[in-house]
Symmetry: C2
Subunit: 388 residues, 2 copies
């Protein structure tokens, strides 16, 4: 186990109907609020109306930034920053999934920053100040509701980059599983793949002596695997939705499940390059790429992959070698993603080989990619080719 620091100040308010607390919680921090959201789904479900009413009852002035894209764009973030500056906004309320929350974080960091907010994503500036923000989560997926990270797309340059700061931990996040009953089938699938992928990035690690962390990772993986199909069969399955929601948060709440472990994050890096150009859902890209990353790297630590097969998928050793078990576990992953309805090839999104070089080059541009196995440009290209 490596040394670590951990400090996660986000307040979680979890449970059916807890969205009713949004007025009171928000009023603790601000009086002049930017409400950030995506498409029309929160209007269709009534969450928008409820939130507006509760904020107004709490005496809060509300400005709005609708239209956050599934891969949130820099230009939209800039719009939000402009509103905040013009209106003197003192708190940001994100109502949505990871995209809405990430965009809100970028706005929060951008408002007090004199330069371009993109600076934070290309290593040109550090986040020194930020507006406070809170969230109502509407999709179990990214964990952004309890961490300080964010990913933004520069659409014109076809770049998608991550950044973050301890200043960007939400002050509160309301997790009401009933809000996710209306999540469409494909986003329930992609969100679940995203949760599992966050765990993979932490679990497949070269760090020695992390038995508790490994078990925490396995706990989340097993619980997601058990609950995805019930949520697909019955989108209002209260138990399944609550479990997926809590798994999503715990999978990436400042890295708590894997403290003291070196994380990988290569597959996220590769997927970002794909969705930066092709604008496919992040979870869809991960479902295609992750099993191929696994096949490409598993020999770096075949015992961890064998453990994954046995503990997460319940594959019985039955005389098999670690290598055989590892491959069986990877196959089980691919089969599960396919069974729940995730795509297995980039070609299903109309993606061909023409941008492979560009994606591979961008993926390794800023820093070494991966820790379980450090990937060079050719490695990324190989994994993308396996994924076509």
């Amino acid at each position: 186990m490596n040394s670590f620091q951990f400090h996660n100040p986000t307040r979680i308010v979890f449970g059916e109907g807890e969205t009713r607390q949004v007025g009171e919680l928000t009023a603790t921090y601000g009086r002049n609020v930017l409400l950030v959201y995506g498409g029309g789904s929160i209007k269709a479900t009534g969450l928008y109306d409820q939130t507006i009413q509760l904020l107004k009852e709490a005496g809060i002035t509300v400005h709005e930034l609708p239209g956050i894209e599934p891969n949130p764009r820099l230009a939209t973030v800039q719009k939000g920053i402009d509103i905040c500056r013009k209106e003197g906004v003192d708190f940001i309320l994100a109502v949505g999934g990871g995209s809405v929350i990430d965009a809100s974080k970028a706005i929060a960091a951008g408002v007090p920053h004199e330069g371009d907010v993109w600076d934070f994503f290309v290593g040109k500036a550090r986040i020194e100040k930020a507006l406070p923000l809170g969230t109502i989560l509407t999709l179990a997926a990214t964990g952004s509701e309890m961490n300080g990270g964010m990913v933004i797309s520069h659409w014109e340059e076809k770049l998608k980059r991550g950044s973050g700061s301890p200043l960007l931990y939400p002050k509160f996040s309301i997790l009401d599983p009933t809000v996710t009953y209306s999540v469409p089938r494909n986003h329930t699938v992609y969100g679940s793949v995203d949760i599992m992928s966050h765990v993979f990035e932490q679990y497949f690690s070269l760090t020695e002596n992390t038995p508790l962390q490994e078990r925490f990772c396995e706990s989340i993986l097993q619980t997601v695997i058990e609950n995805v199909e019930p949520a697909l069969v019955n989108p209002s399955d209260a138990a399944a939705r609550a479990n997926l929601m809590w798994c999503g948060t715990m999978a990436l709440n400042g890295g708590q499940i894997s403290l003291g472990m070196q994380n990988d994050w290569a597959t996220h890096g590769i997927e970002h390059e794909v969705s930066a150009i092709y604008d496919i859902p992040h979870g869809a890209g991960l479902a295609v790429i992750f099993p191929n990353w696994m096949k490409y790297v598993y020999k770096e630590r075949v015992d961890r992959f064998a453990q994954y097969a046995e503990r997460v998928w319940g594959i019985v050793r039955d005389g098999r070698s670690d290598d055989e078990l590892a491959l069986a576990g990877i196959e089980a992953t691919r089969a599960f993603f396919t069974r729940i309805g995730a795509e297995s090839r980039l070609s299903e999104f109309g993606i061909g080989a023409d941008q492979l070089d560009r994606m591979a080059e961008e993926a390794v541009r800023y820093h070494g990619l991966g820790a379980f196995k450090q990937l060079e440009k050719q490695d990324v290209r190989n994994i993308l080719e396996m994924s076509l």
Copy 2:
């Protein structure tokens, strides 16, 4: 899963040698510090000298309260409160195990309170303000380093009571596993029993639909079970000490592993009555009583106990009923505690039947005892009798 709120603001600084950060961390919060510690162990190991030097280098004035008892006493807490008031102390630094940290919390809450600090422990007052505190943990056991709870003994009245507040979460806790290399064998054992017992109090619950929480609990139990004996064989086993330390913190950091589950805490309540009178180590009392509590209550939810046997102890079902599995898991618990050297009967501490009535009565005095099975006075008496 029930609704819940969670907010844990403690900063954890974990790793070999991280005690060197104590000056800088403390200086963030205070300039006039009360250093609270127990017996001579931190002097023997050099931790006392190091801490004093680092605090002085950081420009901090240090007052001292040594001599915190293993079951920390109200009179000692009162001494600390007096020092803080007289000297205008603005921060409390606890260097020790749970007893030292709990005493420090009681002092922190007592200083700004006009009435008797014992008011907080008997429901006569609520904690509205507290001095900030930080900790250097020297024993993997209570979790007090990352929660807002505390337990104090009123020695003259032979009472031991718990209280707590969100205001009492330490601002920081330094967890340096090397500091625990010198922990004596019996306290390594009792600390490990305490960690497992904290998990038991959360895991044996009637709340439905908590698969992730159950697995988190099982993760800690399995990891403690794996690591106790290596730490006993080689007290400087870096991996074992680090794992036990992190298990101890995660087992009771504001209840994070069991959010949304009703907890029990009856066995802690019973043990407190035993150690209030007989001053035995808390973990020793738990090792005696917990297996008997299990036998007494397991039929309330035999499936959870069967799951415990299978997942934590790896007991194969092999045609056995839930009831048989449950009993096998309880037996495995008792056998493990015995194997690592914990006592199995109160009579080994010279405790007889003469105070059973008093202990049973006190255990149920303030509120219903237990949630998995609500215990009445006679139930407590029965469990204590099984434990003699």
